[in-house]
Amino acid sequence: MERRDDRERDEVLAVEDLSVGFVQDETRTVLARVSLSIGRGETLGLVGESGCGKSTLGRAVMRLLPANATMDGRIRLLGADVLSMDERAMRRLRGGAVAMIFQNPMSALNPVLTIGRQITEALETHTGLRGRAATARAVELLHMVGISRPADRAHEYPHQLSGGMRQRAMIAMAISCDPKLLIADEPTTALDVTVQAQILDLLASLQEKLSMAMLFISHDMSAVASVADRIAVMYAGRIVEEGAAAPLLRDPAHPYTSGLLNSVPHVDGARRTRLQAIPGSVSAGSADAAGCSFRPRCGFAIARCAVETPPLADIGAGRAARCWLASADWRPAAAARSMAT
């Protein structure tokens, strides 16, 4: 809230104080007052471990959460208030102004419809295109996402394509109606590394060509590093650090971000250094507990961390971190070094 001044620009998505809970016997908080915004053509990388709520956030933006979810706060998508929208208007938005791609294209594509048919379906839902015109556009889209012999491929079924091809087809579907925002939910996780790089390149080039914004959700730091303009790190339903991609990656301010970066293997790094795992795991429902939710796993925790939940505070240079220690000149990496000596 402190850093809103420069965000009133060309915003595609603005999430304000969004809380999401799932009701099952009792309410379990999955997101606790999350705020973020994405500008036109910008890519926001959303990182965090499995179960930290990043996919829930992506789905909440499109209101695709199951019926037992409760949502509180505000989501503005291209100026429209998502949470108060009726279902019909929401449907027009989904796949139109905002599209989504999924982790596993094999299970997200319809196995009994051809690729071409699935793209034309999206076109029929949102644009006036029908019949031959729609088919021609589908072939053009397949061509755009780098599928060779697109006219033939349009007649094939998902199981006849390779994993990378499927994800390309999925992307073709997503961009078919010129979305202003693309939500990519772990789009490269199910692919092997060389294909990952191709898909990331493709996403970046399409983004430029279509000037669309992207919410890139991933647990893979290196994938996020290669596409994101800004990065938001999530832990247990809260954003713990946010800032421009390069400084955040070079010089993380939150112990969790630092831990995430330390647990990524480097090819060029010293061969014998051990990777540092973050001890413990995201405990269930920890967004509800008092104090910093990362405290049980944090090597720098002080007494204050157990009683008071830290705010997402400005630490200068357009960055923010949710840590009592973080400031313009405290960094976990440096602190760890001085603790060791």
Partner: protein, 301 residues
């Protein structure tokens, strides 16, 4: 499938052979035989009654005659029954009635049952609870008993028989469709369809239904056989289409009294037609199920 050739793309699409020809080219001989048998049965049921004698005309001088007997009205190719009626004429006419009833009963029950199952599974909650309890209640009552009671209460006729038989069919479809939808509903497939802005109806029709079509086909072939037997049973018990109009079931029922006297043809002829139809339809159904699923279409696919 439309033939695509787009000037912007690398090369023109290969012309696609027609769907029917592709299906038939992958058809094993047993299925081909089944197709021929079903086509024959349908053709005979459709056109046979136009060519055969009057199925109710009696020739009391040639009662219970074996096949190929000469009588007043010429040669009785399949013999005559206890009232001297031409068995071939009765068989052909009975086939028409039985097939019509079975077809429409399965169609009605199948469409209604599938629709209810889809809605029930997809909407969930109270709707699902209510519909599934209705199904449970009906399944708790033995199907034959239900059908017999209704058939006995209502005015007998072709329409009544269709309605009564579709009653035993719809529950099967509703159950299977619901179970399949329940597992599909939670998949990325439905999530992705929703994320493209599909309405619920569209998701059910375009994304869920094609994915459960295989199971629907299988139960259709099973239910076709099931209903055909049930129809025969109704006729056998005298609760189906009232006499003198012949149905296959009624013919078997009347004929079995003369089995001990050695008049085998009265039972064997209609029995053979029933078995042939059911076996052939089952064979076609099994094969179709594999063909309809693009994943199991296999080698040449």
């Amino acid at each position: 499938m439309a033939i695509l050739s787009d000037p912007r793309t690398d090369q023109p699409a290969k012309p696609q052979p027609t769907a029917l020809r592709r299906l038939l080219s992958r058809c094993p001989p047993s299925v081909l035989a089944a197709f021929v048998a079903v086509a024959l049965v349908v053709a005979v049921a459709a056109f046979g009654p136009l060519l055969a004698r009057d199925p109710t005309a009696q020739d009391l001088l040639s009662v219970l005659k074996p096949p190929l007997t000469q009588g007043n009205a010429g040669t009785y190719l399949l013999g005559t029954d206890q009232l001297g009626r031409d068995l071939l004429a009765r068989l052909v006419s009975g086939m028409r009635t039985s097939l019509l009833i079975t077809f429409f009963a399965v169609l009605t029950g199948g469409v209604i049952g599938t629709a209810i199952g889809l809605a029930s599974g997809y909407l969930g909650g109270r709707v699902d609870n209510l519909l599934m309890r209705v199904v449970d209640i009906q399944l708790a009552v033995p199907g034959v008993l239900l059908v017999l009671t209704l058939a006995a209460v209502l005015r007998p006729g072709v329409g009544t028989t269709i309605c009564v038989l579709s009653l035993i069919v719809w529950v099967v479809y509703a159950r299977v469709a619901r179970a399949q939808v329940l597992s599909l509903r939670e998949t990325d497939l439905v999530m992705a369809a929703r994320a493209t802005g599909c309405s619920d109806a569209r998701i059910l029709l375009y994304h869920v239904l094609p994915n459960i079509a295989g199971s629907i086909w299988v139960i259709t072939t099973l239910e076709f056989a099931h209903v055909m037997i049930a129809e025969a049973a109704l006729g056998y018990l005298g609760l189906g289409v009232p006499p003198p109009a012949p149905t296959l079931g009624a013919m078997i029922s009347e004929g079995q009294r003369y089995l001990q006297l050695g008049k085998w043809w009265l039972v064997v002829m209609p029995g053979f037609v029933v078995s042939l139809t059911i076996i052939s339809i089952n064979a076609i159904g099994n094969w179709l199920r594999d063909m309809l699923d693009p994943r199991s279409r296999g080698r040449s696919g």
